[in-house]
């Protein structure tokens, strides 16, 4: 594969730092048949892609369907990914196209269509989807957000600054080191310790 370039930012979002080497390593493994590597790419970009699609598709459950379809398309097209662009740029284009196609198809569908549950497969699929997003599970998202916010406030100043510059501002370690006037190694260590501290608050919710 060719050397990577910085990821092209979607409108309104700062570009993320980094060489793209981690995405390239993962996509290479996917091309070799390692499905777990694709799982890690999904973990990395699922929230970003879902939020992107929700700008086009308002309904959260439909947005989830479209996001799933976008990732499936990316998985099937993975062997054709040559690394000419950053992986996220490629995935971003697939997601946009999938959302637009969905909207075009949605306009063609009649407005008032009653869901007919005589088809047992349809009924089963509907109930399964409902089971995944129970009220308890939906509340978990809010709890996670609250736990992270609380943990951030409890961090020492240098750790909080380092992790916010990284996660919110999207700065590289080098840029953060210049901003905080410390070595890159110190930045790496501070970000890691900040994550460790936040993770301790999250573990009871996730286990």
């Amino acid at each position: 594969m060719q050397s990577t370039e910085r990821q092209v930012a979607e409108p309104g979002v700062k570009p993320r730092a980094g060489s793209g080497a981690s995405d390239l390593a993962l996509i290479k493994r996917v091309q070799q048949g390692d499905r777990s590597a694709f799982d890690l790419l999904v973990v990395k970009y699922q929230h970003k892609i879902l939020n992107l699609i929700m700008r086009y598709v308002r309904d959260p459950s439909e947005a989830l369907d479209v996001a799933q379809e976008a990732f499936l398309k990316a998985y099937r097209a993975a062997p054709a990914f040559r690394g000419d662009s950053a992986f996220y740029t490629w995935l971003y284009r697939i997601a946009i196209n999938t959302a637009k196609n969905y909207l075009v198809a949605a306009r063609r569908r009649p407005a008032n269509v009653d869901v007919d549950f005589q088809d047992s497969e349809q009924f089963e699929a509907f109930t399964k989807m409902s089971d995944v997003d129970t009220p308890e599970r939906l509340a978990l998202t809010e709890e996670i957000g609250a736990a992270v916010s609380k943990a951030i406030q409890e961090l020492p100043d240098e750790l909080r600054t380092a992790i916010l510059l990284r996660e919110i501002e999207g700065m590289s370690y080098e840029e953060i080191a210049q901003t905080m006037e410390c070595p890159v190694g110190t930045v790496r260590s501070r970000i890691f310790r900040a994550r460790e501290a936040i993770e301790k608050h999250l573990r009871p919710l996730l286990d």
């Binding site: 993320r16 730092a17 980094g18 060489s19 080497a21 981690s22 390239l24 390593a25 290479k28 493994r29 070799q32 048949g33 499905r35 777990s36 590597a37 694709f38 799982d39 890690l40 999904v42 973990v43 699922q46 929230h47 970003k48 879902l50 959260p60 459950s61 989830l64 996001a67 799933q68 990732f71 499936l72 998985y75 993975a78 062997p79 995944v132 997003d133 599970r137 939906l138 978990l140 998202t141 996670i144 957000g145 992270v148 951030i152 992790i163 916010l164 996660e167 919110i168 590289s172 370690y173 790496r188 260590s189 970000i191 890691f192 994550r195 936040i198 993770e199 999250l202 573990r203 996730l206």
Partner: protein, 191 residues
């Protein structure tokens, strides 16, 4: 899991590892489930900080994809390759069969009486003629039998030992006795 490796997980999340480190790290992730879970938690922290968490469960999409992909073949092969596999396989099989047939024919044609080692020599690869996929037509009109056998057969047919059934000349008829026939097949038999 050492602190150093955990710090590498953090660096991987931020795409701050070198290409070599990334490849090594990804290979390790394949068999280290605890590291994978930690990586997922770090990504979740970032999503929460950026306000990216949606109303659905944070892991819903990943779980749905996991289920959907379990029905997909493990290695999605490039679609262009598939079209050529079957015909190429057929051609390969046909070529092997043809080569074996030609080799067998050449072994039969080049073996001679008394030349005990000829078949072995052919099998040992001592033949000098290159293998051909098509048996060239015999344009010389010559029978596919070695000269010593031809001479033997001539003598048998025209000598005093020729049987009355295979005698083809006046001379053999004149000098013939009641000796048994010797055919080409017998000449091929090695002692």
């Amino acid at each position: 899991m050492t602190d150093r490796f955990q710090e590498q997980i953090s660096g991987f999340v931020d795409d701050e590892l070198s290409a070599d480190e990334c490849e090594f790290f990804v290979r390790r992730l394949q068999r280290d489930s605890e590291s994978r879970r930690q990586l997922m938690r770090y990504h979740l922290i970032g999503a929460a900080l950026r306000g990216e968490l949606t109303h659905s469960h944070p892991d819903t999409l990943r779980r749905r994809l996991e289920g959907a992909l379990s029905g997909v073949r493990e290695t999605p092969s490039p679609p262009r390759m598939r079209a050529y596999v079957k015909p190429a396989l057929g051609v390969a099989v046909a070529a092997v069969v043809a080569a074996v047939a030609v080799l067998a024919l050449q072994v039969v044609n080049t073996s001679a009486p008394g030349d005990v080692d000829a078949p072995d020599a052919v099998l040992a690869g001592e033949r000098t003629e290159p293998a051909a996929y098509v048996v060239p037509p015999d344009t010389t009109g010559r029978r596919l039998v070695s000269p010593p056998i031809q001479l033997t057969n001539y003598l048998m047919r025209h000598s005093e030992y020729a049987s009355h059934l295979s005698r083809t000349s006046v001379h053999s008829n004149v000098v013939a006795t009641g000796q048994p026939d010797i055919t080409e097949d017998d000449a091929d038999v090695t002692p």
